[in-house]
């Protein structure tokens, strides 16, 4: 089965596959073009770790759209979760880890060890945050509007509130605030940025496995999500071509009319791009296709702070994971240090203080690496284009990260059998509070008619979700059906 196609999807990342599957299910003839040999983008197992392969992106999922799971029947296509609710655990240099588990009473008892005052407030804090998160699903789950004035006011307030100020007003304990430091730097934001408090509300609005604000891990890792999406896309009749990079977009009269891939012109009425906004609008689209002001803004707003990933293959379970198998372990000193570190990273320097999030997926998924353990560590905030190149920094940073984790897992260095370092991704656009609070159409639609973004660039927060893809597919389908011009 080949051409003519109604829609072309650029990039077979989870977002691209979701958009393709939705459009094909609706009845469109869809072609997905992937530059790499393997589909899945950063969720695919492309990095080697000894005999194993691991993804370049996060090991966990925190924002997968429940409607995507349902509509594309992903559970029936092999998506099973082995960890449904990883507890947020702050590892402290001295004292017991701060286990902020779902049970508010248990979490309060843990907080009690650092501050009685914060322990008394913790329940109320989470209750209020979750209530707000549920209300904000109207704008973050679909193209809805907030109906209660109180929630609109709260959203307005958070848009100008930094994560640091938000935590400061809630808690007094540095250890407790530090446990939130990693989440406060999602998307390269600084905890001091206005609007970074929205990251907490956004996280609280998510739902994994039916649990609000949960972080989950599928059996087989994120690659299992890719496999189930591939099955859904195939079942719907999507054609996928790998090793076919899209060279440029074809335009006629200001609207997209197809793509050029591998010396071939492939016509299509709509194109959905799961790659970055900058790559789509500046590299793929011909010069002048988007306005000068738009293009200049895209060029200027380069993301400078990102996250790296260090994956270790171990022959022993690290001590902290033995104590809490289903945990995501946050190591951060103080929130203020993270703010200073972010400034360093923005200036291209390797910060002296870093925030880490460690997960041991093998602690709950024995199928992943029989006989071994995998320790996956995300590191923030890091310069995307450092003064020294990442080749040289990688080794230094890896040693530092291992040394930091060794304090919580004695004997860690000697248990390492293999390791892989993934440098921060380049080419993303600057992410800010305005982006989180913008409407879906604003993030998905482009100045070029018939061209939509469906990847992480169109999400409120750049993580794997599939929500932008689902909404982009609906917009593209409405255009194909002639419901909108």
């Amino acid at each position: 089965m080949s051409g003519p196609f109604d829609a072309i999807v650029v990039g077979a990342s989870p977002g691209g596959l979701v958009a393709a599957a939705y459009l094909a299910q609706a009845g469109a003839h869809v072609l997905v073009l992937e530059a790499e040999a393997q589909i899945g983008g950063s969720a695919a197992n492309t990095r080697s770790l000894g005999d194993l392969a691991v993804p370049a992106g996060a090991h966990t999922l925190c924002a997968l759209d429940p409607r995507v799971v349902k509509d594309l029947k992903l559970a029936r296509r092999g998506l099973k979760f082995v960890a449904r609710d990883l507890a947020q655990i702050g590892l402290r240099s001295e004292g017991k880890p701060l286990a902020l588990v779902r049970d508010v009473h248990a979490a309060s008892r843990a907080v009690e060890t650092v501050s009685a005052r914060d322990a008394a407030r913790f329940g109320e804090f989470r209750h209020e945050l979750f209530a707000l998160g549920r209300a904000l699903r109207a704008i973050w789950w679909d193209e809805g509007e907030l109906d209660a004035a109180a929630h609109r006011d709260e959203l307005r307030r958070l848009k100008v509130t930094s994560a640091a100020a938000y935590l400061d007003s809630a808690f007094e304990s540095e250890a407790l605030k530090a446990a939130f430091a990693f989440d406060a730097m999602e998307g390269g934001m600084s905890p001091a940025d206005a609007g970074s408090s929205l990251l907490f509300a956004w996280r609280a609005a998510q739902e994994m496995c039916g649990l609000q604000g949960a972080v989950a891990v599928p059996r087989g890792g994120p690659a299992a999500l890719v496999a189930s999406l591939f099955a859904a896309a195939k079942a719907a009749g999507v054609e996928i071509r790998t090793q076919t990079p899209v060279a440029s977009l074809l335009l006629s009269d200001g609207a997209v009319s197809g793509v050029v891939a591998g010396n071939e012109e492939i016509p299509a009425r709509v194109v959905l791009s799961s790659v970055s906004r900058r790559h789509t609008l500046l590299t793929l689209a011909p010069s002048g296709a988007v306005g000068f002001a738009t293009a200049s803004r895209l060029l200027e707003r380069v993301e400078r702070v990102g996250a790296a990933k260090l994956v270790l293959a171990l022959d022993a379970l690290p001590a902290f994971a033995a104590a809490f198998p289903s945990g995501r372990f946050v190591v951060a000193e103080r929130l203020e240090n993270c703010i200073a570190a972010h400034g360093d990273a923005r200036a291209g320097r390797l910060p002296s203080d870093l925030a880490l999030e460690a997960v041991v997926p093998t602690a709950f998924d024995s199928s992943l690496a029989p006989g071994h353990h995998i320790l996956s560590v995300l590191i923030r905030p890091l310069p995307i284009s450092p003064a020294e190149d990442w080749e040289t920094l990688a080794l230094r940073l890896s040693e530092r990260v291992v040394a930091t984790l060794e304090r919580h897992a004695p004997g860690l260095p000697s248990s390492i059998v293999a390791q892989n370092f993934v440098a921060p991704a380049t080419g993303g656009e600057m992410f800010d509070a305005a982006h989180i609070a913008a409407g879906w159409r604003e993030r998905i639609a482009t100045p070029i008619g018939g061209l939509f973004l469906c990847g992480e660039a169109a999400e409120p927060v750049p993580v794997t979700s599939g929500r932008a893809a689902r909404i982009a597919a609906a917009m593209a389908w409405a255009l194909l059906k002639g419901e909108v011009r």
Partner: protein, 368 residues
């Protein structure tokens, strides 16, 4: 523009000598004579004889690069990439949403180079957008002095000075003029003579010497502004405030009556916004019974607003206040009575007065 030092034009030594009354004005960062004697008399002289004005202050930017043609084609509302070398076109440039950022003249200098001339500089916009095409935009305002020669006898004067004045409108040609490299152009209502700063005083002296037979007089920018307005030419900065944001759709070419500068079929930046902008308003002249109204004064007809005024001045040649205005389609008929902020007036067709175009040379007519 940021505050910077006031610069002298290459002709300053001569203009200072002629400017007995010491009336100066800052235009585009340059010191210019506002008027040498009586601005009104100067404006009238430019209509009947020949007048010399220093217009070195006008912003000029060189657009150079392999993709310069592609860039100017996208930048301006008329396709300047189709121009032959030495030819010029007047056009607008719009922001992404279709708001007018500027109005200027684009001259093709060569295969890969263009010159943009405008009364109001917009370097940031052009530099940033040119970078998208790998094209450079360089401010060349200070690199050449420019004199405007206006009036019916401007051509004869140039002929007498030894320059071939047989140049069609909206064209530019380089000359080797008795040892000097100069450029002669007809981009506005008269001629413009361009020269390197070092030759500026010689060029001034030669023109003044040749102009004696034509009663040539230096005129200040006040008189030039008046000629502009009487000719019905809208100017950015005087008649409208351009959009300074990349994404605001105001002012649209339609709202300023500038839609005539737009080739709707051409693919330019902001086209979608322009096509979506509201109904076209029309640029007309208003003759007023008493003093000049402030810019953007509402024009009322039978108690209903039908338009707004743009720039206005007292025209000595017409003996009354005149204003450019944009009005709705039902108020464009000459003679339509309107009220501008308490002052009665009526619509008249543009230009208010015939543009003082040079009499074609070599047709037997000679100096008075």
């Amino acid at each position: 523009m940021t505050a910077e030092l006031l610069r002298a034009t290459p002709f300053h030594a001569r203009t200072a000598e002629a400017n007995r009354l010491n009336r100066w004005e800052n235009r585009g960062g340059f010191t210019l004579a506002a008027s040498y004697a009586d601005a009104h008399a100067e404006a009238v002289a430019a209509r009947f004889g020949a007048a010399l004005a220093d217009v070195s202050w006008r912003w000029r930017a060189a657009v150079v690069g392999a993709r310069a043609g592609e860039f100017v084609s996208r930048l301006f509302t008329r396709d300047a990439s189709q121009l032959a070398p030495g030819a010029a076109v007047e056009a607008l440039w719009l922001n992404d949403a279709g708001g007018v950022r500027g109005l200027g003249t684009i001259v093709r200098m060569g295969q890969e180079s263009f010159l943009v001339i405008s009364e109001l500089a917009d370097p940031d916009w052009m530099t940033k957008s040119a970078a998208l095409y790998g094209v450079t935009v360089r401010d060349v305002t200070a690199e050449e002095g420019v004199l405007a020669l206006v009036g019916p006898y401007a051509g004869n004067l140039l002929q007498a000075a030894g320059l071939d004045a047989n140049l069609e409108p909206r064209a530019l040609r380089k000359f080797f003029w008795k040892g000097l490299d100069v450029t002669l152009s007809r981009l506005g209502s008269g001629f413009e003579l361009w020269c390197p700063p070092d030759d500026a005083l010689i060029v001034w002296d030669r023109l003044v010497a040749a102009g004696r037979a034509y009663a040539l007089r230096p005129v200040g920018i006040a008189a030039m502004d008046l000629l502009d307005l009487e000719s019905g030419v809208p100017r950015a900065g005087r008649d409208f405030t351009p959009a300074r944001d990349g994404f605001s759709s105001e002012p649209s070419p339609q709202s300023l009556g500038l839609a005539g500068f737009v080739d709707r079929g051409h693919a330019f930046n902001g086209r979608a916004g322009h096509l979506a902008a509201g109904a076209e308003r029309n640029l007309v002249g208003i003759l007023l019974d008493s003093e000049t109204p402030a810019p953007q004064t509402a024009l009322m007809r039978d108690g209903r607003a039908v338009g707004r005024t743009l720039g206005s001045l007292n025209s000595p040649a017409m003996g009354r206040a005149i204003a450019l205005a944009v009005v709705d389609a039902d108020a464009i008929a000459p003679g339509t009575a309107l009220v501008a902020g308490g002052t009665a007036g009526h619509v008249c067709a543009l230009p208010f007065l015939p543009i003082p175009v040079p009499i074609p040379t070599g047709d037997g007519r000679s100096a008075p």
